[in-house]
């Protein structure tokens, strides 16, 4: 960074507003949550303020571990699928004429205006036995009789990827549209087939964009709460569902706060690890 560091109250004025917003709406609630995670639950009531590590000790159950692992697994899978589909898709959009690009982007952004509830029910309808696409396959003669595919793991995965896909494209679009169109051409004159060019040059030179979109979709999907309940069976419920359950239906706020804090630490660690691997080696040393 260049330039002088800001000095005195006057120079700090412009950042006071965002700093205050961040403090009031993020840091203070987060602090409250961390504090509550050390409190003791009163059965049938609220909680008493003590310092108690019991909530964290209570996390180490098989059930919690299973749900945590499943949440991380399905988020990671969703991130990989969304980026694997979104990257070539975004690349082809950036090679189109400007006007066509805008049409595609507007269509994608319009998906974002749908609420998760609507998306969830739409998918459960599409995958249902009575009105779903299996009827279409029966009509085509591919299947014998219509089946219900929802709720299931795959239904949940479809729903999550559907929500994550527009975000993936929006994250990938700026770096891919800045890619020098001569790079793939150079690769072709050097003897690389179009497919090889795509993987070695287009994907290769967009490593940072791929990693950041993976991290974004992963973190975004971890917090999903509505879709698992609509498209999944109870064994497909993510940690967010469990936390809400604990807080609202069992009114055990200290335990759910501890879950949330632990969940956040684990996901931060995973994101950090991914970024570190993503930076990785860029130049092969001799």
């Amino acid at each position: 960074m260049t330039g002088e560091r800001p000095r005195g109250l006057k120079n700090h004025l412009p950042i006071i507003y965002p700093a205050a917003m961040l403090g009031i709406f993020f840091i203070i609630p987060f602090g409250i949550m961390v504090t509550i995670s050390f409190f003791k639950r009163q059965s049938g009531g609220f909680y008493t303020s003590t310092f108690d590590l019991n909530n964290y000790q209570n996390l180490f159950t098989e059930h919690f571990a299973r749900v945590l692992a499943f949440s991380i697994f399905i988020s990671a899978l969703c991130a990989v699928i969304s980026v694997a589909l979104g990257f070539p898709f975004t690349y082809f959009i950036t090679r189109m004429r400007r006007k066509t690009q805008v049409v595609w982007l507007v269509m994608l952004v319009s998906v974002l205006s749908l609420s998760a509830v609507i998306i969830g029910f739409a998918w459960s309808l599409i995958l249902s036995q009575s009105a779903g696409i299996s009827n279409f396959f029966v009509w085509l003669g591919v299947m014998k009789q219509p089946t219900s595919w929802s709720p299931s793991f795959w239904a949940l995965l479809c729903g999550l990827c559907y929500v994550a896909f527009p975000y993936t494209v929006l994250v990938l679009y700026p770096p891919l549209s800045r890619l020098d169109p001569h790079l793939p051409e150079a690769a072709q004159t050097l003897g690389a087939s179009p497919i090889k060019t795509f993987f070695t040059v287009v994907v290769g030179s967009s490593r940072a964009a791929v990693v950041s979109s993976l991290v974004m979709v992963f973190a975004f999907t971890l917090g999903t709460y509505v879709l698992p309940q609509i498209l999944g069976r109870p064994q497909h419920w993510t940690l967010s569902v469990l936390i809400t359950d604990e807080a609202i239906y069992h009114s055990n706020l200290p335990l759910s706060a501890a879950m949330a804090v632990f969940f956040m630490l684990v996901s931060l660690a995973l994101v950090g690890l991914t970024m570190k691997i993503g930076k990785g080696r860029t130049v092969e040393s001799k």
Partner: protein, 356 residues
């Protein structure tokens, strides 16, 4: 010699994008081992022509042949050509060595052989020991050399360069012109360079292909042929400075220009008398003497400007509203100054007749 079509042959090439014509009526034959420049003003289609040869574009009409085999439909990655792009297009995520060895890696050459070739090429472009460097750590001139080395890694059948030196500053550009020419002479590789800089084209090439704003080829020849015997007024005007005088041809090798009969040594055969023609005379062929002197091929006028740049002197004469520029060495400088009356002498051998 028609059965002996070696080298690169372009047959009646046309390329248009929708209704926009990029290249038309191009038929060329480029022999092996030559250094060729496509020279023309911007928008004349010279880059498109190079991209057609590289296989990055498909011609709308016509054929491209290399050593008698038709490569028009062959995709770029099967042609085994080397190309240097104007933006260089070095892969930012790869090191210098990996950039250079990219084409070898694609062809599954083993690692030891790749490394040998990298060292060899870095030696050739005078960047030894740079293999592990990152592209962002290199200067403009060094990147240029890496791009050249990368294009040469597979010993390509054709070496194509699109305005390769335009991003370099003037001094470095002149050095690289010589270097590129000497490299080509050492490797004996057929090389095509696109440029809009006629000095660059004259410095480097065996053959120059001059293209015009009508997206056609106007002339192909050695640098001196093009300079001395321009095919038409466009070429005469585009290459160097030319005095273009309009006149009426009358037979017995004379033309009426500004009311004076000018003798001309060589006249195109069958040129009918009374035709409008243009006479092109290079400034260095015109001598200026002070005062009004009568004599053969003499035009009278007033000195409007003297441009003395040290290495040469240019004298601008106004002859009845027509500007004539003469150029001489400092030693041969005529004793005239601004506003003097003077006479320009146009030797009959230096007067070239252009009919278009």
């Amino acid at each position: 010699m028609m059965h002996f079509m070696t080298g690169l042959v372009l047959k009646d090439i046309h390329k248009h994008y929708g209704s926009v014509v990029a290249v038309q009526n191009v038929s060329l034959q480029i022999p092996h081992g030559r250094f060729v420049c496509f020279l023309g003003p911007s928008g004349c289609g010279k880059t498109t022509l190079l991209r057609l040869i590289a296989g990055l574009e498909k011609p709308s009409r016509g054929n491209i042949l290399l050593d008698s085999s038709d490569i028009t439909e062959q995709p770029a990655h099967r042609r085994n050509f080397g190309m240097v792009f104007q933006s260089l297009a070095l892969f930012p995520h790869l090191s210098v060595g990996e950039n250079i060895a990219y084409s070898l890696r694609v062809r599954k050459v083993d690692k030891a052989a790749r490394q040998r070739r990298i060292d060899e090429l870095l030696e050739l472009v005078r960047l030894p020991g740079y293999s592990g460097r990152h592209i962002s750590q290199l200067s403009g001139g060094q990147r240029q050399r890496v791009a050249i080395a990368r294009a040469l890694a597979i010993e390509p059948r054709l070496f194509l360069l699109d305005e390769p030196l335009s991003a370099l500053d003037a001094k470095l550009r002149e050095d690289m012109q010589l270097e590129l020419r000497m490299l080509q002479q050492r490797l004996q590789i057929t090389t095509i360079v696109v440029t809009h800089d006629q000095r660059e084209a004259m410095t480097m090439s065996d053959l120059i292909v001059v293209m015009g704003t009508d997206n056609q080829v106007h002339q192909m020849g050695t640098p001196l042929e093009i300079y001395r015997e321009p095919a038409n007024t466009f070429v005469a005007d585009f290459i160097g400075t030319s005095n273009l005088l309009k006149g009426i041809y009358s037979d017995i090798g004379e033309a009426a220009v500004l009311g004076t009969m000018l003798k001309i040594d060589s006249v195109p055969q069958g040129l009918p008398s009374g035709n409008e023609i243009t006479i092109s005379v290079r400034p260095e062929d015109i001598s200026v003497v002070p005062g009004i002197q009568q004599g053969e091929n003499s035009l009278h006028g007033t000195v409007t400007f003297v441009r003395d740049v040290g290495s040469s002197v240019e004298i601008y004469l106004d002859c009845n509203g027509i500007q004539i520029i003469s150029q001489s060495t400092p030693q041969g400088r005529p004793p005239v100054k601004q506003q003097d009356a003077a006479t320009a002498i146009l030797p009959p051998a230096a007067c070239k007749v252009l009919t278009s």
